[in-house]
Homo-oligomer: 265 residues x 2
DNA sequence: AAGTGGTCTAGACCACGGG
DNA sequence: CCGTGGTCTAGACCACTTC
């Protein structure tokens, strides 16, 4: 296989990054320096650089230069903790309570409620007909003023009708508690995790570079009082600063690595 | 904000794909057609096209054209099923047994065993010192001759020494069974899920396009006979054809959507 | 052979960040 | 202001697929 110039350049830069010759936070040579260093035209250099961006290996700031990304403090999203367990503050939903326990500041913005007809996928997961309306509660979640996740919960209208769930207000005590009050205590759930690239809107909202995928976690919640689900919650997280954690059986207490921050879904 | 030509082109193509004007499997206009359609130079068109590739919206075949990807049959990886449960064939590891149950053909290739010093991350997760050796068992897993996942399991040497685990052979009855025979019955585990972009090697091995992220699932296994973990298994899956599933509580039986194929981790 | 995308060049002007 | 990366052009040749 005949070597291809931009691939050689990319491979060389990859090696220098992975070997630590270029470390986190360091600036790489400028485009014109790379041109002379590799004896290639600017566009060829840019093709190589684009490949590295898409792998998440470098970050480019217009006007300033190219950098090896700082390693981010990872949030570990605990997705199999019991609701309301582990000394969380009662009367708060688990996201808020969990972030507070971690010593961070939670915030929910742009909260909206809507009633709509579900698309095929949502209807299938919620086990309702496509002509049955659902109540949709959407919000953006922040930690310390940085966008953290977007969330959308769907409720069958026969549960939500006439309740707070279809109302326009945030519910600080958590919707799990509301469902319990309505007689639908959540006894089990099923999570489906997908990963995909962000839309341009998500890239802008989360302020992430190229090469950063998104987690999409869909949680279907069940109650003993009903065969079909009582709720579907879809949460989207950027994958560069989040990892998901699931315990099976009675796993031992968590040992945190340096800088790791546990939060709740 | 002054409109930028290649972004306009990309946005227009995105709309046509999402609206269904270009459907799965359809060929898009060629580069030269897009040049005349948008009145832009070839490189500008190519920048727009590159963005769509990175979002996973289109797939490009050299010499043939650009296509909207066929939607893949999704594998659903069941990660919270009981080992050996649900009528799996006894005497087979859960991956093989699960794939057979789904009516597909499992295959393990390029199996290797190695003894090495763990890096900082592995040592931390396994709770061994960086100067304590570990046994590493690596393999590539296929389903119906298509690459499905790569897997690497790490065992503390004080468990693996002198056992099949450090030997060069595949163990068809599953290493969970071997650990049980050694007195380390697995009673709990903790999964950590990450998502990242593939390396060029992974792109080639899994034959995936740009814009397809990878799942990295790290499972730490615990036994009642020992405080520190008995195994760490790291599995890598391409995210375009896999979703991960975790049940919490006693979730109801799974309802499969059309074409969905459940398999085991 | 014809048509597709892949590679590469040389040069121009623009927009942003920081001194 | 200068240096950075971002946009865009016009043209050339190459490699792969299909007929």
């Amino acid at each position: 296989m005949r070597p291809v110039r931009h691939q050689e350049i990319a491979e060389d830069l990859r090696k220098k990054i992975n070997s630590g010759e270029y470390r986190s936070g360091m600036q790489l040579p400028t485009e014109s320096e790379l041109e002379t260093e590799y004896g290639a035209s600017r566009n060829t250099v840019r093709v190589a650089v684009a490949a590295l961006m898409n792998e998440g290996l470098i970050q480019v700031n217009r006007g300033r230069g190219m950098y090896v990304p700082d390693s981010l403090i990872p949030f570990t999203v605990l997705l199999s903790e019991e609701e309301g367990g582990r000394g969380l503050r009662p009367g708060l939903d688990s996201y808020r309570a969990g972030v507070l326990v971690a010593g961070r500041r939670p915030d929910v913005r742009n909260f909206t409620t809507r009633i709509e007809y579900p698309d095929t996928e949502i209807a299938g997961l919620l086990e309702v007909g496509e002509r049955d309306q659902v109540a949709v509660r959407s919000s953006e979640r922040y930690i310390d003023d940085s966008p953290y996740s977007t969330q959308r919960s769907y409720y069958p209208m026969d549960i939500a009708r006439g309740t707070e769930l279809e109302g326009p207000d945030k519910i600080n005590r958590g919707t799990i508690e509301v469902l319990r009050e309505l007689g639908f205590e959540q006894v089990s759930h099923r999570d489906t995790v997908k990963a995909r690239m962000p839309t341009p809107e998500e890239r802008a909202f989360f302020r992430i570079g190229l090469g950063v995928p998104m987690f999409v976690v869909s949680r279907i919640a069940y109650s003993a009082a009903r065969e079909s689900p009582v709720r579907l919650t879809v949460t989207v997280y950027p994958a560069d600063r989040n990892r998901l954690s699931y315990d099976g059986g009675d796993a031992p207490a968590r040992r945190l690595t340096e800088g790791e921050i546990p939060v709740f879904g």
